[in-house]
């Protein structure tokens, strides 16, 4: 295994060749906010929260999809990066109806945690209050598009881990929505296996188990992702 060395926030660090900057940060104990990323799923670089500055590059790099290279100088927490992250999270809150108080994920939500960790105490952008529908047609699960941040974790886990590809994204711009099959009600989906992986990887209360009250959807279980990935790729069958 060859190794590259780079500078992370002024600190020299080494990384395995081919590692992403996000992995380098995680290994070096540098906290970088993420939303669309989830260990065990492919990366899409969509949420833009893990953007970092690379010296000598005009454009910011999404750490989850940028490979560490010899001699890179990375800055993860500049004033402007922090400002962008706050803006992005605020934009998400304004976009749909994230009413934490009545959300099943209240207290266990990645978005809510992100906001608190970035010190967001209010949203400066105009709330859009779109009229969205809730899909409760599945016998066990509910899709509440009011809480969806379009991270596509559900799309990827269903495609890459479960192999069903029930979920996908329909529409465009602010009208994007995750859909099951060809926008059929979830309960009528012929491809859904009912495995619930999408519910476990959902960062917010957009996908949840039925019969949950506000705050009732407790911490989600995501260790299955690394377990399955290690089993498949490294033939390691240990939990």
């Amino acid at each position: 295994m060859s190794v590259v060395t780079l500078t992370l926030d002024g600190r020299p660090v080494s990384a395995r060749e081919g590692a992403t900057l996000l992995e380098v940060c995680q290994e070096s104990g540098v906290a970088l906010p993420t939303l669309c990323h989830l260990d065990g799923l492919s990366d899409v670089g969509a949420c833009r929260l893990c953007l970092v500055e690379v010296a000598g590059q005009r454009k910011l790099a999404a750490a989850c999809v940028t490979q560490a290279q010899e001699g890179m100088e990375i800055t993860t927490g500049s004033e402007r990066l922090v400002r962008y992250r706050r803006q992005i999270v605020e934009l998400l809150f304004a976009e749909r109806n994230h009413v934490c108080a009545v959300c099943v994920a209240n207290g266990h939500c990645d978005l809510q945690r992100l906001a608190a960790s970035l010190g967001i105490d209010h949203v400066r952008y105009a709330y859009q209050h779109p009229a969205l529908r809730l899909d409760a047609s599945h016998p066990r699960f509910v899709a509440d598009h009011d809480r969806c941040v379009l991270c596509t974790r559900c799309v990827r886990v269903c495609d890459e881990i479960e192999g069903a590809h029930t979920w996908d994204v329909a529409g465009r711009a602010a009208g994007c929505q995750v859909v099951t099959d060809l926008a059929a009600p979830w309960g009528e989906s012929a491809s859904c296996t009912g495995c619930g992986k999408c519910v476990q990887v959902c960062p917010t209360g957009a996908l949840f188990e039925k019969e949950q009250a506000a705050g009732g959807m407790l911490s989600k279980h995501r260790d299955f992702l690394t377990y399955l990935k290690n089993a498949r790729e490294k033939k390691e069958w240990l939990r």
Binding site: V44, G45, A46, C47, R48, L51, K59, L60, A62, V65, T66, R80, R83, Y84, Q87, I88, L91, L92, A94, E95, R124, Y125, A126, Q128, V149, L150, D168, V169, G171, R172, A173, A174, G175, C176
Partner: protein, 558 residues
Amino acid sequence: MNREELEALAARRRAADGERWHRVSVCCGSGCHSMGAEQVLATLKGEVGAAGLTREVQVHASGCRGLCAAGTLVEVESGPADGAERHLYVGVDPEVAVRIAREHLVDGRPLSEHHADPSDPFFARQQRIVLESAGRIDPEDLESCLAAGAYAALEKAVSEMTPAEVLAEVTASGLRGRGGAGYPTGLKWSTVAKAAGDRKYVICNGDEGDPGAFMDRSVLDGDPHRVLEGMALAGYAVGAEQGYVYVRAEYPLAVKRLKIAIKQAERLQLLGNRIFDSGFNFRVDIRIGAGAFVCGEETALMASVEGKRGSPRPRPPWPAQRGLFGQPTLINNVETLANVPAIVRRGGAWFAGIGTAKSKGTKVFALAGKVRHTGLIEVPMGTTLREIIFEVGGGIPGGRAFKAAQTGGPSGGCIPASHLDLPVDYESLAAVGSIMGSGGLIVMDETSCMVDVARYFMGFCREESCGKCIPCRAGTVQMHELLGKIAAGRGELDDLGRLEELADLLGAASLCGLGQTAPNPVLSTLRHFKDEYLAHIEERRCPAGVCGAGARAEEVRA
């Protein structure tokens, strides 16, 4: 097909054309098409047939001639091919067509009215490379294209030149991407040529989607063989055997003519296997886009060609490394590829002699907005905005004052009158906060409100965002609403700061070019026309009188 056969075919056609006393071409480009060119064509054919002159007079359709505002255009070329007498008629409807047929074609007395003046700067100031044949040839008739020199460059390349030599000519020409970014074409080609891969692909990006832009459309439906030839040359240079033309479904005429062109070219072995009896094979297929602006972005375009959702992915890997189906892929814009045959035929040095130090060749612009000659023009790089608008474009109608020129569509900016003498090239436009873009040029006069213009383009980006990354999907919504609030006379000074902060976010954090450039119209209007924003906010009035009605309506409701 070999060189002798190609030349014989072209010569035969030229001779046959020369035997006809009158050759009448009716512009059937998209502009004239929409003004009833088909009827004019049918009328002329009918009249010529009725007069029994089908042997002496040839009537055919042609691609766009550029003077779209004055359609339908009909050119009558009389006498031997060299030294022919030409008459260009403008504003031809079926009634005028009947007169042209009876008076000019039958009686030999050209009409005194409906004439375009060939010495008008609109014609005299243009230099046509990409549009060289459009307007003269019949795009659905391969022989007429061959007579005008089509595929001669491809023949020359595959029989006389190595791929490296073709690449060297393109590099020497200094050609840069006409899609807007201006990346050096030769460099792009050599990256793909060097890339290792089982297969390579050439993609022609015809997903032109800027409001007001119709350059690629006119090239595709006016001279499709030029684009196909450019693709084949690119394929030869980089080692690709498969090409795709990605064209939007909103361009049915371009799709139709491309289909015909590909079929015709394949029949004569100008495309397909063993082109010109060489070892070079190249196939071209069409992929029709479903009308998403973002599919003009190369990674989204490739996803769409692969049959996936057309949303962009982060680069690297660059298409040249891992592109279509994971293979090295060359993506060039229509106009870029349409320049290539001329470069190969006449040499890179010839091309490099046109234009400015860093921007070579010509640029096709779609002139739109408050300008007399709305239409399609091609001028050397470095021509000033003043020349383009006031000479070629004929100036502003109604004696009104020029306010700004918008280039680059939703990714570009507005250039104020103080920069009218700016030479149009990639760097100069960038220096004043706009971009070359693909060639849309919208002229605005004192009746245009710059806040409204910014709002319009932001609304466009808001609708066209693919929705994948948050800054673009949600940021364009907020920016559009802020601009709407200002336009409606409800803005506050703080809103300008909010706009700038969001513009910074979108520019720096968006995943692809759509979001990264979406703030440009706002930033450039804020830079050059801040007084108009302030008038909307502080005085609650729209200096151009565009947003006034909106503001009053808001007041009534409140």
